[in-house]
Symmetry: C2
Subunit: 250 residues, 2 copies
């Protein structure tokens, strides 16, 4: 039986976990893995090779699960409470045959995990791939998450909190929306994240004033009403806005 990784090649006691956000049907979703022989779900995660940069490990996990390379990925928190490592956890993994007995010692370690959050375009993720320990993947609306393993619920909450904080001061949407999108679609994203309605006209004006959008000469056809203009983000200006923020006090 081939092992999914070599414990001797990995940084001990350290893992990365990715909260992968997608936006679909006016809902914010996260990609979760269904564990084998277990009713619980888990965040896509992995270990850090001894010769691998921390951030690269997160990129690798993301690539392996979604096939995507160029996405927004940001480190947001290190989770290091002793209590996040439940005593019987490794034992349970072996008993339920989720892992090979030779890996029990590895999973009995006390782990610190570095949380990353990723923003991906939902439709670009064709068929997410489960990892060695999981049965399959699924997108879940953050409003109705299934039971999650260990402290993964908390990790999702913290990621969401960080994402909402980002929304307040930085642009968002690139990586979450298709390359071309309409103003109402962008507004729907904001309204979902903010959990409140915004004025259509003021939203448009404000958004345009940030100067990160490019108006195309195309329209979203096929809708039941007036065809809305398609916009795209100006990648350079978007990056600028990410770095400097949209509205600082001083």
């Amino acid at each position: 039986m081939e092992l999914p990784f070599q414990p001797s090649q990995c940084q001990p006691g350290l893992s990365v976990d990715c909260v992968i956000f997608g936006f679909h049907e006016n809902e914010l979703k996260v990609l979760l893995l269904k564990l084998l022989h277990n009713r619980e779900w888990a965040l896509p995660g992995g270990f850090v090779m001894l010769d691998e940069d921390l951030d690269r490990a997160a990129v690798r996990v993301l690539r392996e699960r979604t096939g995507l390379k160029r996405i927004f990925l940001r480190q947001f928190h290190a989770f290091g409470e002793v209590s996040r490592n439940l005593p019987g956890h490794a034992d349970k993994l072996v008993r339920t045959q989720a892992i090979h007995p030779s890996l029990q010692a590895w999973f009995e370690q006390r782990f610190i995990t570095i949380g990353f959050y990723a923003l991906v375009e939902y439709s670009q993720v064709e068929e997410p791939h489960p990892d060695y320990f999981s049965e399959f993947c699924r997108w879940y609306s953050i409003r109705e998450l299934p039971p999650l393993m260990l402290d993964h619920q908390r990790i999702v909450s913290k990621a969401l909190e960080t994402l909402r904080l980002q929304l307040k001061y930085q642009p968002i949407g690139l990586n979450l929306l298709p390359e071309r999108f309409t103003m109402p679609e962008l507004q729907a994203l904001y309204e979902t994240l903010l959990e409140k309605k915004l004025d259509r006209r003021n939203f448009q004006r404000k958004m345009l004033s940030y100067d990160i959008l490019v108006k195309t000469d195309e329209f979203r056809q096929g809708g039941a009403h007036k065809a809305p203009v398609l916009y795209a983000f100006d990648p350079d200006r978007y990056q600028q806005a990410l770095q400097h923020g949209l509205n600082s006090i001083w």
Copy 2:
């Protein structure tokens, strides 16, 4: 010879480093440790006990170096590049007698460090205590830092960047200023961090509008001119402002 810590009791390959900021004589300063038998300086840091929460480890480091307990301490980044662990580093430590040879293997590990930044009231830190590996401590203005060990320069830069980001959206000053302070003193802190002059009158109005200050009926006496009013932060409102930010777009 007594060892300063038991490698077997510590989380392998993991450390915490604290960038401790203080404000004195209109300069932002950081507390640094002078390494033994070495011209380089280092951030106060330490290892994480196996039965110790990550955040607790940072609190402990801070307590051991400054004697302070109640201070602003925030995790800001995990530094995990492979390249931050220089090949000959452990060997050099042994050769210069900075560490006992029995610790060489421990220091040869690849380390990931979690960066924390702390805001402390400069005058409250009586006499900072060096640790086992260092000769003495000193406050350094961030504008003229001495040569720092490994990637500690980068850690300071990232902490400063984070602090300046905080300044843009959140209140600052509690923990950096004495309990009671004048408006011009608070302004000086902002001007130092922002590296620019602000209008005295507009600053006052804006600051008061945030509703996080309490005006006392006392004055700072002894100055050469009109005695300025002393203010204090309202702890509850300050906390609120920290959480919700001062001016969000939406």
